[in-house]
Amino acid sequence: MNIPSLAWAYLRRSALTTCLNVALLALGTGTIVVLILVGTQLQDRLAKDAAGVDLVVGAKGSPLQLILSALYQIDIPTGNIPLAQAQALAADPLVAQAIPLALGDSFRGFRIVGTDPAFVALRQASVAAGRLWQAPMEATVGWQVAQRAGLKVGDRFNGNHGLSAGGAEHEGMPYTVVGILAPTGGVIDRLVLTPIDSVWAVHDAHHHHHDGDDHDEHAHETEAAQPPDREVTSVLLRYRSPIAAARLPRRINAESGMQAAAPAVEMTRLLSLVGVGTDTVRGFGLLLVASSALSIFVALYNATQARRYDLAVMRALGATRTRIACLLLTEALAMGATGTALGLALGHGAVEMAGRLVPQARDMGITGLQFPATEPYLLILAAALSVLAALVPAIHAYRADVSAVLSRG
């Protein structure tokens, strides 16, 4: 006989209450674990896809929309900007690097992005097979594009008009896959990358096709080489010095027809909006944990009332007051630890399942096998709460007048 086995005997005797408390605690901690896991991984993902970009310049409109479309490829662009102005930005002494992006078409729902090979370096991606694009109509595709579409180096495919699947196919202007990128877990995995010239060429052909014009090949080439009114969708900028942060956005927004948006600012704003939602769920999780602590308290308090005589008999058999208090604390801790452990397993399991089964979660590389540094605190919190719950009953039992309880028996 020892305190754990005695505690176990009591917990087993009131199995239903014990299970309820453990389940309540498991649900609470599980909810919090899911939030922590998904939250941190989402934030990591967002930060990773914005890394190296200080400013995004595009057409006027919603700054958040500009950021979402240019960095995360999840919203439609605000419009296009003249190539000349984009090139002027690249030449600005405040700018260290400017990477243009031209959007417009897609392939099976994957966006075709016309850009410089510098974009690959910016995303810290590497080539898994083949090489980077060089000539127009060459394409290097992201890992998931290759996987889902079954593309290999040397394959050819036609783009579709528009950014979502279902647009009219651009026939007669096929892309050739020259390379496949290694997986990064980032947005680039889902992009088809090609020179900007390809986008322009397809765009022109599309227009000409619809206009019914009959340009010969030579004229087309000339037009592509010397664009009078070429456009890009956005430009990703990296500052040369911190001073640029103070001057450049204001100057662009005030003096040009373009819009400049800083990813850091917009994402903070977005997260504060989304944060309200996650805070609510997190609050709900905490509420579950708190109510399970309360439930443990009620269970133990009732137990000490129902067990008054038991505890008094143990005292009469020689148990010290400390031992009785320890017994109750052990019961609470056992419930607390089991509930929390179950909650951790539940939370990690649920996130891992989602990461495997839900396509969107899989795309983002969501995994349940990550163990955030905040988790030990969750354990400590749950342990502290269950001890707190046991404290009043334990003190009650500690102070009980054994003689009075036994005489009233």
Binding site: M1, A9, Y10, L317, G318, S407
Partner: protein, 227 residues
């Protein structure tokens, strides 16, 4: 040295005197009846002896140790080591089976785990085959025997039995008393039986009589006592 040595014990409850024992002692190995009508303070005295209820005045020596000079934990330890208690309501711990109830008593008395001692104690009260039974599965008589086994499994020097026979018919009264005496003999313990039950009078010669209303107690010693 007497096992129990009480001097100048006085206790009042709610301003009403309950106990007045100028002097009372019980030699080691002898048994004693604690007689008195209901409300005469028998339970109060037993609790005072066991270190559960501090008396207003007086000194209680158990095996030479002044019970109420000890700190709380020391009293708990002394009680566990020296005393076995049989409650009138028996009160086995319902969450534990029969054997575990005895293991519990040994553990609380600070004794090592001893499956043979537990089995032996249950065997001696005729329950050698009910080790794994739950208290609620036992008859009243079986519970009584488990309670007695639990009191002696720690090999106490003093067995305190508070009204062990009051709720029993004549036959069972005699049987329980026999069992208590027999078990006390086995472990060489002193048996103190508190009762208002006249049927026990002829079984134990030494007695302390507690009159009603806190009048001084009277001691009677039976045969064989070294005067």
């Amino acid at each position: 040295m007497p096992l129990i040595d009480v001097t100048g014990l006085r206790h009042a409850i709610a301003g009403r005197p309950v106990l007045d024992i100028p002097h009372w002692s019980v030699e080691s190995g002898r048994h004693c009846l604690l007689l008195g009508p209901s409300g005469s303070g028998k339970t109060t005295l037993i609790h005072a002896l066991a270190g559960l209820k501090r008396p207003d005045q007086g000194r209680i020596l158990l095996d030479g140790q002044a019970v109420w000079d000890l700190a709380a934990a020391g009293r708990d330890a002394l009680r566990g080591r020296l005393i076995g208690i049989v409650f009138q309501t028996l009160h086995l711990v319902p969450a534990l089976d029969v054997a575990q109830n005895l293991h519990l008593a040994r553990w609380l008395a600070g004794l090592p785990r001893d499956t043979r001692a537990v089995a032996g104690a249950l065997d001696r009260v005729g329950l050698g085959n009910r080790l794994g039974a739950r208290p609620e599965q036992l008859s009243q008589g079986e519970k009584q025997r488990v309670a007695i086994a639990r009191a002696v499994v720690t090999a106490p020097k003093l067995i305190l039995a508070d009204e062990p026979t009051s709720a029993l018919d004549d036959e069972n009264c005699a049987r329980v008393l026999d069992l208590l005496l027999e078990q006390a003999e086995v472990c060489g313990a002193t048996l103190l039986v508190a009762t208002h039950d006249g049927r026990t009078r002829d079984r134990i010669a030494d007695r302390l009589e507690l009159p009603k209303l806190g009048a001084p107690a009277r001691t009677t010693l039976g045969e064989g006592h070294a005067a």
